[in-house]
């Protein structure tokens, strides 16, 4: 073991004593910062992209949409609500905007809307700690196409029966339980949610996401859509535990800055409530538009630099016959490869950490916001990018050992990592092949830079062209690690077999 420490020391001395390689490390940092600046500047005029502006923040810090029409009354303590959702319909989607004009909210439909609702249009019961956007809630609802759901605090979603129309919410202490029933007599529990005890507001609500169609074309992606209105009809509304004498009030909870705030409508006719709503109660998704990971776009430049460093770290030895001196000082060739990998990985990780931290901070400073990424996510971005660079450098080392020729090895590494990314993310390939490319090639590792979250309860094109990787952050990173491990194994076998 102490022999291996000596070996590490030797390889470290080798690396730091070549001035060009040290300069290369500096260049990687510089390029990361430069491109963070470029990406920041290239986005600075578009603070209000789709879903942009100052979005409210949910209880867990996620940026959310919180637009709904609420018919409610106070609920100070324990209690329950029961209702039957008689119908949920949508409006015709607006015409696609012409020449990039902003989509406009439709006029209030003259005739009762009869179009099919959006799949994630929602009508149901809600207990919400307040009417401020982003405040905690628990709700059970009928949706346009996904049956009964129990959702709370924007990000949590539990499926219930597909065909139930009767809904019940029971609040007891800090817990809210949702039930559904097909006939109003036999109830099944859908789910439970924690909601702080104390003053809250409770009632029925309607919300619907806009109608969107996602399209991708070589070189880009677009979403076309606009607001729609959902109309829910309720009857048999019963509340237990409400304040004596309190009546039902109608109120729109919406993003204050939303110029397309939904028209407020609710009619109370005997036992029947008709409520129109738009906007959505859901986590915000990215889609096209600025994202925090774009501040790290320079990692492609840095990747090219570390690929060159990784390749040169071994091929210069071959090209000058120095490898014989190395194997004379250390006959265990696998140990030499391991020491090189450890030293190179450690150096590039440290360089990557400095570079990506700097790039993220600089990019955030220029963009003036962090797109709601939590500190944990930001740490993952920085550490993940550094790890990506380190593993890519080791991958380059292994390819360099296999090919022994610098130029070919650099081309192989850059092409294997960058080209699949370009083909899939720049939407040269259709969505499904692009997803497979990002599952199988080393480019999958860029998933560690993803800040977007796939929310099953939100309709969105979760495809590479819209910035969604098919694998999880560390799952994608593991793909690159797998390639690197395989390349190292081949390199080790060849090292053993070949004459130096």
């Amino acid at each position: 073991m102490s022999g291996f420490v000596g070996l590490l020391h030797a390889e470290l001395t080798k690396f730091r004593s070549v001035r060009g390689w040290v300069i290369g490390c500096g260049l990687a940092v510089f390029l990361m910062l430069l491109f963070a600046g470029l990406a920041g500047a290239g986005n600075s005029h578009t603070g209000n992209g789709p879903g942009g502006g100052a979005l409210p923040v949910g209880p867990d810090g996620t940026r959310v949409l919180d637009g709904l029409t609420l018919v409610h009354q106070p609920l100070d303590g324990d209690g329950s609500l029961t209702v039957r959702v008689a119908s949920l319909v949508g409006s015709e989607p607006p015409e696609p905007p012409q020449d990039g004009a902003a989509p406009t909210a439709p006029e209030r439909p003259a005739a009762p809307p009869t179009a099919a609702p959006e799949p994630w249009a929602k009508a149901g019961l809600i207990v919400k700690s307040g009417t401020a956007p982003g405040s905690p809630y628990a709700a059970v609802m009928v949706t346009g196409g996904h049956g009964v759901r129990m959702q709370h605090d924007f990000v949590h979603d539990t499926a219930g029966p597909a065909d139930a129309r009767w809904l019940r919410l029971v609040r007891a202490g800090g817990t809210v339980t949702g039930y559904a029933s097909a006939d109003g007599t036999a109830w099944t529990q859908v789910g439970t949610a924690a909601l702080a005890a104390g003053e809250a507001t409770a009632g029925i609500f309607v919300a619907t996401p806009g109608h969107e169609e996602f399209d991708q074309y070589p070189g880009g992606a677009s979403s076309i859509g606009g607001k729609v209105i959902a109309t829910g009809t309720f009857d048999n509304l019963v509340i237990a535990g409400g304040r004596p004498g309190a009546g039902w009030e109608t109120r729109a909870v919406a993003n204050e800055n939303d110029p397309q705030a939904p028209p407020l409508l609710s009619e109370h006719d005997g036992d029947t409530f008709t409520v129109q709503g738009s906007g959505d109660v859901a986590p915000a998704t990215g889609g096209p538009g600025p994202k925090l990971e774009q501040t790290l776009v320079g990692s492609f430049a840095a990747l090219t630099v570390v690929a060159v460093l990784g390749v040169l770290f071994v091929t210069t030895e071959y090209r000058r016959g120095l490898v014989r001196t190395t194997f004379t000082t250390t006959p265990g060739r696998i140990r030499v490869l391991a020491a090189k990998a450890v030293v190179l990985g450690a150096i590039t990780f440290a360089v990557g950490l400095v570079a990506s931290t700097g790039a993220l901070l600089l990019g955030k400073a220029i963009l003036g916001e962090d797109y709601g990424a939590t500190v944990g996510t930001q740490v993952r971005l920085v550490v993940g990018t550094a790890a990506l660079l380190a593993v890519a450098a080791v991958f380059a080392l292994a390819i360099g050992t296999i090919l022994r020729r610098g130029a070919g090895a650099v081309a192989a590494v850059v092409v294997l990592i960058t080209l699949p990314y370009i083909l899939s993310v720049a939407a040269v390939l259709p969505a499904v092949p692009a997803q497979w490319v990002l599952r199988l090639t080393p480019a999958a590792a860029f998933a560690v830079q993803q800040t977007l979250h796939v929310w099953p309860q939100v309709y969105q094109a979760y495809t590479p062209a819209f910035g969604y990787f098919p694998l999880s952050a560390w799952g994608g990173f593991a793909v690159l690690c797998g390639w690197t491990a395989a390349a190292l194994a081949i390199a080790a076998v060849l090292l053993r077999r070949r004459d130096a």
């Binding site: 001395t13 001035r19 060009g20 210069t316 016959g321 014989r324």
Partner: protein
């Protein structure tokens, strides 16, 4: 550890080319062993095999009884100089030694010592890319000395040295051997090793042609020939031939006499009244002895090749 290199029955082919063909010899401590042969005879390949760099089809190569690859800190057992140009041009000479030292758990102090030993103390911190061939050879020797090893193996260390450098290298090698080390030095020019090598391993076409001490070799090559300088060439030849000697003309006034010792030549010439200015026992140079050997080697090699076809 025993300071020896033992090479036994090495065999290696590259495709249809036979590089090593049963190479067998031993290098013993306390003397410089010259490893000579024409280019392509297998000298460098043998050294690479000894260092565990190249694989062989058959045979073993042991350093002090152990294969090179089993050594934990090999530079403390063997110092080797294979290719003095194997340097990263932008790394300084000192850093080039430093990483080797670190791999053996040695420090910068030892590096500075060997730089001083090889006369590179002043240039150690300059980029090795700017070194002359002679400086690179010295740097290579410095690397070989890092671990203060009992066995040294140098491949063509005289290449690129100026006369001053050649003299330095000869003295240095002798001194290392005098310290009790086993020193193996390859060369394709025998003259470089004159007065340096105590033992000789001559190779041709991948196998050992002669394995002998230098003294024996020169004695054998010299025979009992006598060099004679005289102004009366014809008379001298007649007188000596009458006594049974074979006489050859080497120059306008020089004859080489074979078959009579020097003192008999003086008696014969004096008795015949032939004037002469010098009579000396002929001493072959190492170069001549080597040429004799390799000439034999070529003849010796020609036959089996014919048979093989």
């Amino acid at each position: 550890m025993e300071a020896t290199i033992k090479v036994d029955g090495l065999r290696k082919t590259y495709g249809s080319t036979v590089a090593l063909d049963g190479m067998t010899f031993t290098v013993n401590p306390g003397r410089v062993t010259a490893f000579v042969g024409p280019n392509g005879a297998g000298k460098s390949t043998t050294m690479r095999v000894v260092l565990g760099l190249d694989r062989v089809d058959a045979g073993t190569a042991l350093i002090g009884g152990r294969p090179y690859r089993s050594l934990r800190t090999p530079l403390r057992h063997v110092g080797a100089l294979l290719d003095a140009s194997a340097l990263h041009p932008s790394r300084s000479g000192r850093d080039h030694l430093l990483w080797q030292a670190h791999s053996q758990r040695l420090g910068g102090k030892r590096v500075d010592e060997v730089l001083r030993l090889t006369g590179l103390a002043d240039v150690g911190r300059r980029s090795a890319g700017g070194y002359s061939l002679g400086m690179r050879q010295r740097l290579g020797v410095a690397g070989a000395l890092l671990g203060d090893p009992p066995v040294l193996m140098l491949d063509e260390p005289f290449n690129g040295l100026d006369p001053e450098g050649i003299r330095w290298m000869r003295g240095f090698l002798r001194a290392l051997a005098a310290e009790g080390r086993a020193v193996l030095v390859s060369s394709h020019l025998m003259s470089e090793l004159q007065d340096t090598a105590g033992h000789l391993v001559v190779v041709g076409r991948g196998r050992v042609v002669a394995d002998t001490s230098v003294a024996d070799l020169i004695a054998a090559a010299s025979g009992d020939r006598v060099t004679l300088r005289t102004s009366a060439r014809t008379e001298a030849m007649t007188a000596l031939a009458r006594e049974g000697a074979t006489v050859a003309v080497t120059d306008r006034d020089t004859l080489t006499v074979d078959g009579l010792p020097a003192d008999r030549v003086v008696v014969v010439l004096s008795g015949a009244g032939v004037p002469f200015s010098e009579v000396a026992a002929h001493r072959a140079t190492l170069e001549e002895a080597y040429m004799d050997l390799t000439r034999d080697a070529v003849e010796f090699r020609a036959e089996p090749t014919e048979v093989a076809r």
